[in-house]
């Protein structure tokens, strides 16, 4: 499989404190990958460098064979990356439909927008709420709206930062089948704390600890990896 996203020696320090150090990361097209690690392992910093909201202090990022290290976030999105925020970031005072339409209008025009909006909201189960104001939704529904905004972009790579945080169990089940249906057209990078979701969904898992890659492998390999167990999973 060809690699869609890769990093080479990617690093970032914040005034001497090294948050991410020399990470070589490779994500083949079509894969569902999970990125896990204890709090403070550097996951968010790493992902911020992928999407372009933080500039790396070393190394480079490639997307689809192109060096995107110095491109601003909006250019990366135009190439086909989409990102859903860990802390929900939606347009709180606009309707759900308008939220999703803003995501869809990047590549669609006219009537096609409304159709895409309907389809994306349908997939996350929010179609009945299309005309409501996003700020009035429950937290869990706002998370789903974020995902719908990601879907409406029809990205090649969808980066989901803690997508199941705040979702009810039933919603998590729906979320898992939704993500499975996206692959293999869409490559997924999932940053997730919920180990049930990770073990169920991910084809491969990358573990970050102290800003470096601690281990990488299939869910069962990671599950039985002694170093990972010590660092993260506890003795399970």
């Amino acid at each position: 499989m060809t690699s869609l996203l890769s990093t080479h020696g990617l690093g970032r320090d914040f005034s001497g404190l090294c948050a991410v150090h020399a990470v070589d990361f490779d994500l083949p097209e079509g894969q569902i990958r999970a990125l896990i690690g204890p709090n403070g392992a550097g996951k968010t910093t790493f992902v911020s460098m992928l999407i372009g909201s933080i500039a790396p202090s070393a190394g480079r990022v490639e997307f689809d064979g192109r060096d995107i290290t110095h491109l601003p976030a909006h250019r990366r999105v135009a190439f086909g990356m989409a990102y859903t925020f860990q802390v929900t970031s939606i347009f709180l005072r606009l309707t759900l439909a308008e939220n999703v339409a803003l995501a869809a209008r990047r590549r669609l025009h006219g009537d096609a927008v409304a159709a895409e909006v309907g389809a994306a909201l349908e997939r996350v189960g929010l179609a009945d709420h299309a005309t409501e104001i996003a700020g009035n939704l429950s937290y869990g529904h706002q998370r789903l709206l974020e995902i719908a905004m990601g879907l409406a972009q029809r990205p090649r790579l969808l980066i989901l930062d803690e997508p199941t945080q705040g979702l009810a169990d039933s919603e998590i089940e729906a979320f898992k089948s939704l993500i499975r249906n996206l692959a293999p057209e869409t490559t997924i990078l999932l940053i997730e704390h919920n180990m049930g979701v990770v073990m169920d969904l991910a084809e491969r898992i990358t573990v970050l600890d102290f800003g470096a890659v601690l281990a990488e492998g299939s869910p069962s390999e990671i599950h039985s990896n002694a170093a990972v167990q010590t660092a993260y999973l506890g003795t399970g």
């Binding site: 999407i51 909201s53 601003p72 976030a73 909006h74 250019r75 999105v77 135009a78 990102y83 925020f85 970031s89 939606i90 347009f91 709180l92 005072r93 606009l94 308008e98 339409a101 803003l102 995501a103 209008r105 990047r106 025009h109 905004m149 972009q153």
Partner: protein
């Protein structure tokens, strides 16, 4: 009625009403309304940046003055006729807002307010510095003979009123068109959540720059028309007071509404007009009314209308 029909009825109705007023109003109010329509156009320009894009500028007098002086100086020194003079004023607005925007948009929030304020101060001082050409504070009069546009004497009250109405309608309809287009929706998205907008793939800087230029150009068109219709250009129009006015008008009328700037300008104009007839401390009364409105209608008049009655108001 569908939303589309309501929107067209309301805004078309306002324009028709203002046209009818031309034949009804007594001379004094007729003159006032002509002035209000030109100033409203200035406020409409301001509203695109402040109300829709969420960027608070304290230096819009720079753009108003760019239009006023671009028009006035080209008549005074180059003997331009009104049509090319008007074009010169608008071109000056495009140029000044493009340069000011590219520099000021490197900042955000309070810094943006301060930088725009400083630009406008620099503009005001430049006008005074080149007093030999601009006549500084004293300003200069544009003679009625120099204000005949395509055979129409703009110093005549009826012509003046109708010219003001043309400018106002153009600005109003252009805003209405813009904010309902996808590009206009992106401006609102930037106002609501700029980071999210960028991560949806929109080049926020380009959109904001476009908003500054559109806003500045409309303001300049209002400035140029003001000078042409009322026959005077002076440095007072470049002072900080004229940067604050459109902010007040828009806040009172309803930021981020198409009709708000008109309501705000009309209200404020007559508030000062009426209270100054009662007392010399008219700004005191105006101040109290402003405080009350901010307390009880924080979203402005049209904003309250939208919240309470007309959810469809663009």
């Amino acid at each position: 009625m569908s939303e589309q029909v309501k929107v067209v009825t309301l805004h078309g109705g306002l324009i028709a009403l203002l046209l009818a007023m031309n034949f009804i109003l007594p001379a004094y109010h007729h003159g006032n309304l002509a002035r209000i329509m030109v100033l409203t156009s200035y406020a409409i320009g301001y509203n695109i940046l402040f109300g829709y894009t969420g960027l608070l500028s304290l230096g819009h007098a720079l753009f108003f003055a760019a239009g006023l002086y671009g028009m006035g100086l080209s008549i005074l020194h180059f003997g331009f006729s009104p049509a090319p003079a008007l074009a010169a004023g608008i071109a000056a607005g495009v140029l000044v807002s493009l340069v000011a925007g590219m520099l000021a948009l490197r900042t955000a929030g309070v810094a943006f307010m301060i930088v725009t304020l400083m630009f406008a101060q620099a503009g005001h001082l430049t006008i005074l510095l080149f007093g030999t050409y601009t006549r500084g504070d004293e300003g200069f009069v544009i003679q009625p003979a120099q204000r005949v546009l395509a055979g129409i004497d703009l110093s005549d009250p009826v012509n003046r009123y109708l010219a003001a109405l043309v400018l106002f309608s153009t600005c109003l309809l252009a805003t209405l068109w813009l904010v309902r287009r996808p590009a206009g929706r992106v401006l609102v998205a930037i106002r609501e959540n700029e980071q999210r907008t960028r991560l949806l793939g929109y080049d926020a800087f380009r959109y904001k720059l476009a908003a500054v230029v559109i806003s500045g150009t409309i303001s300049a068109a209002a400035g140029a028309t003001y000078g042409l219709l009322f026959g005077y250009a002076g440095a007072t129009f470049a002072t900080v007071q004229y940067s604050i006015f459109p902010l007040l008008w828009v806040l009172l009328g309803g930021a981020g509404t198409v009709i708000g700037p008109f309501l705000g300008t009309l209200f404020m104009f007559y508030l000062i007009d009426l209270t100054s007839g009662i007392t010399t401390a008219y700004m005191l009364i105006a101040g109290v009314v402003l405080v009350l409105l901010t307390l009880f209608a924080p979203q402005g008049m049209a904003g309250e209308l939208r919240r309470r009655l007309w959810g469809w108001l663009p």
